[in-house]
């Protein structure tokens, strides 16, 4: 290549390194970087989802579980060989597992998810009926956990060693050591049985009609327990990163300009501390799903997570396979969202790598 004309060389092209420009946020390029990362992460998600599907089907093939027994239930022992052969042919279970898997994936693409034995319904309607309740529970819990983590975490960091810090931080360490289902059982024991303040099972009281008030009172305990199960990690991360950013130069600068302590913490220190928080939020999503499984099971909340346990206990393979895949996709998308948010929010994070 020939050397660039001197006139151009003296003026270092501003477009050459868009990520390192000091001028205010080059939004379009950041957005493009985030989009590129999203595409790359989606490309990574496909093999993971396929891997989970292969794993589930291979395990099922290797296990002593006979899909016919799952399909026929009690009639398994009495059904004649003829009937068994016909059903095996219909279900496609007489084929090797990888062909069965391929057939199943083809069905998935056409929207035919099969029939769930334990609920006696097509899998599609089980999912459609239960997904909203899980979304409600997880959504409320997530908002509650994030708000509590931000408020209490900032408070504990801003008044380090104060009474909030001395109460909240040890409580978080204790909660980190307590599995969600133990917290749930404790909540049942104290607020349901001991004090009889709140209902502990289902969406509504027995026989009561579905109403917003009924659902709201029944939502209090499950949502709070689910929020508490993720709170310690979120709160401690807010506290830690806020402590870090309170020691940074620009915060000292803001203080020395005589700004109110409130303004210093909320407008100058907190924004820098929020980025690690978004990342932690993304990594906790898988645990949030696990928490939802346990909370829905303890509180008999009629959501998808409870259906995971039901389908596993009753070996309802069509439902179990779909739910496993669905959960994997949800967790992958959630952590992708968190990463995209981090890239969009922080000009320092490089999207590639």
């Amino acid at each position: 290549m020939t050397a660039a004309p001197p006139a151009l060389r003296r003026d270092p092209a501003p477009a050459a390194s868009p990520g390192t420009r000091a001028t205010p946020a080059p939004r379009p390029s950041r957005r493009r970087a985030a989009a590129r990362m999203a595409v790359r992460r989606l490309a990574f998600a496909v093999p993971v989802v396929l891997g989970v599907a292969v794993g589930v089907f291979a395990l099922a093939a290797a296990s002593p579980f006979d899909p016919l027994a799952g399909y026929l239930g009690d009639r398994y022992l009495t059904a004649s060989q003829d009937v068994q052969d016909r059903i095996a042919d219909e279900l496609g279970t007489d084929r090797p597992w990888y062909l069965h898997l391929l057939g199943w994936l083809g069905d998935l693409l056409t929207g035919d998810l099969g029939t769930s034995r334990s609920f006696g319904q097509p899998v599609v309607s089980v999912v459609a009926e239960r997904l909203p309740w899980t979304m409600l529970l997880v959504g409320v819990a997530l908002v509650l956990a994030v708000v509590l983590a931000l408020v209490l975490g900032s408070w504990a960091a801003a008044r380090r060693g104060g009474w909030v810090d001395r109460v909240v931080t040890p409580l978080c360490l204790l909660l980190q050591g307590t599995p969600p289902f133990v917290v749930a059982l404790g909540a049942v024991a104290v607020f349901g049985v001991g004090l009889s303040w709140l209902p502990v099972a289902g969406l509504t009281d027995a026989g009561a009609a579905l109403s917003a008030g009924q659902v709201a009172t029944h939502l209090v305990l499950p949502a709070t327990v689910l929020a508490l199960s993720q709170l310690p990690w979120l709160l401690l991360s807010v506290r830690q990163s806020l402590l870090g950013s309170l020691a940074e130069d620009h915060v000292t600068g803001a203080r020395s300009r005589g700004l109110a302590e409130r303004t210093v913490v909320l407008r100058h220190a907190l924004p820098t501390a929020l980025l690690p928080f978004v990342t932690v939020l993304g990594t906790r999503l898988a645990e949030l799903v696990v928490g939802a499984v346990l909370v829905e099971e303890v509180f008999s909340w009629p959501g998808l997570a409870q259906a995971v346990v039901t389908s596993a206990t009753e070996l309802d393979f069509p439902l179990l396979a779909v739910l496993t895949l669905l959960t994997t996709v949800a967790v992958l998308l959630g952590s992708l969202l968190a990463d995209v948010a981090t890239v969009l929010l922080d000009p320092r994070v490089r999207a590639d790598g």
Binding site: F44, A45, P47, V48, G51, V52, G55, V56, L59, A60, S63, P64, F65, L173, L174, Q176, G177, T178, P179, F181, V182, L185, G186, V188, A189, G192, V193, G194, A286, E287, V289, V290, V293, L294, E297, V298, V308, V309, A312, T313, L315, L320, T324, T327, T328, V331, L332, S335
Partner: protein
């Protein structure tokens, strides 16, 4: 900070007490799942039954100890298996480099992206009641952290002079890995193993709690807590309190030991690098 220094001795002390409780009490008292006494069902804690009794009239002081023993045993086996698997995979991945390393790290990312309990539920549901399936479901999902740590250690060790010397001396790749790289990564791997223990205890107790792990009559912390779920509604708070307390104490003590040990071994190591 003063409490930093206390963490290790405090954790070790609590852990020793818990292990002594879990091993000695069932050994002295004897545990027989078949012995039931329904006239003594759901008795509140009293001098005769310090932890009360369960719905079949079995003494919970003994049963909690037996449950803790089973849970700890499963957890130790799982943590050991995950550590060996993770250490080997991590070391091989770092030593091989190139596409092997990339493939292994993608596999680790993939496993970490999926909720571990979900994989455990699927595995245990398909192989119901099998202890091997429970152990496998924990070991197969928890090795990734150890692999990451060991890989990072080996990568940082690879460029040290003594490794270069071994390579120049004609040592084979395998010999370099298992004589020079793995032993140096061992302390970090051991800390990771200790920190895996509470995860394994949680995992097992969760599966058993959901009715997918050990059969209900076999005492483990999970099956005891599952039983507490129904006794609780009849006012039996002690059926929840004592098994839950031993579970939480175990987790906290192990976490204290793990972080205490990590702090101790990381301090002199920095000095060694300077020399």
């Amino acid at each position: 900070m003063a409490d930093r220094d206390l963490r290790l001795p405090l954790g070790v002390g609590v852990l020793v007490l818990l292990v002594a409780y879990a091993t000695l009490v069932p050994w002295v008292a004897g545990v027989d799942d078949r012995v039931t006494d329904f006239s003594a069902a759901r008795l509140a804690p009293s001098p005769g039954h310090p932890f009360g009794t369960d719905s079949a009239g079995r003494d919970l002081f003994v049963r909690t100890a037996a449950g803790l023993r089973v849970s700890l045993l499963i957890a130790v086996v799982c943590a050991a298996l995950s550590t060996v698997l993770g250490a080997v995979v991590g070391a091989v991945s770092a030593a091989a480099g190139g596409w092997v390393d990339r493939l292994v790290m993608r596999l680790v990312d993939g496993i970490n992206a999926v909720p571990h309990l979900l994989l455990g539920i699927v595995l245990v549901a398909l192989f119901r009641g099998s202890l091997v399936a429970i152990v496998a479901s924990i070991a197969l999902t928890h090795w990734t952290q150890v692999a990451r740590i060991v890989r990072a250690e080996v990568l940082s060790l690879r460029d040290r002079p003594h490794v270069d010397a071994a390579v120049l001396g004609g040592a084979s790749r395998w010999r370099v890995v298992h004589r020079h790289l793995l032993p140096a990564a061992l302390p970090q791997a051991l800390v990771a193993a200790v920190l895996l223990l509470p995860h394994a205890v949680w995992h097992e107790s969760t599966l058993s709690f959901l009715g997918l792990g050990l059969p209900p009559h076999r005492p483990s912390l999970g099956t005891l807590l599952e039983e507490a779920r129904s006794s609780l509604l009849l006012g039996g708070w002690w059926t929840l309190l004592f098994p839950a307390l031993s579970l939480v104490l175990t987790t906290l003590a192990v976490a204290a030991v793990g972080s205490g040990v990590r702090q101790r071994i990381s301090a002199p190591r920095r000095g060694a690098t300077l020399r």
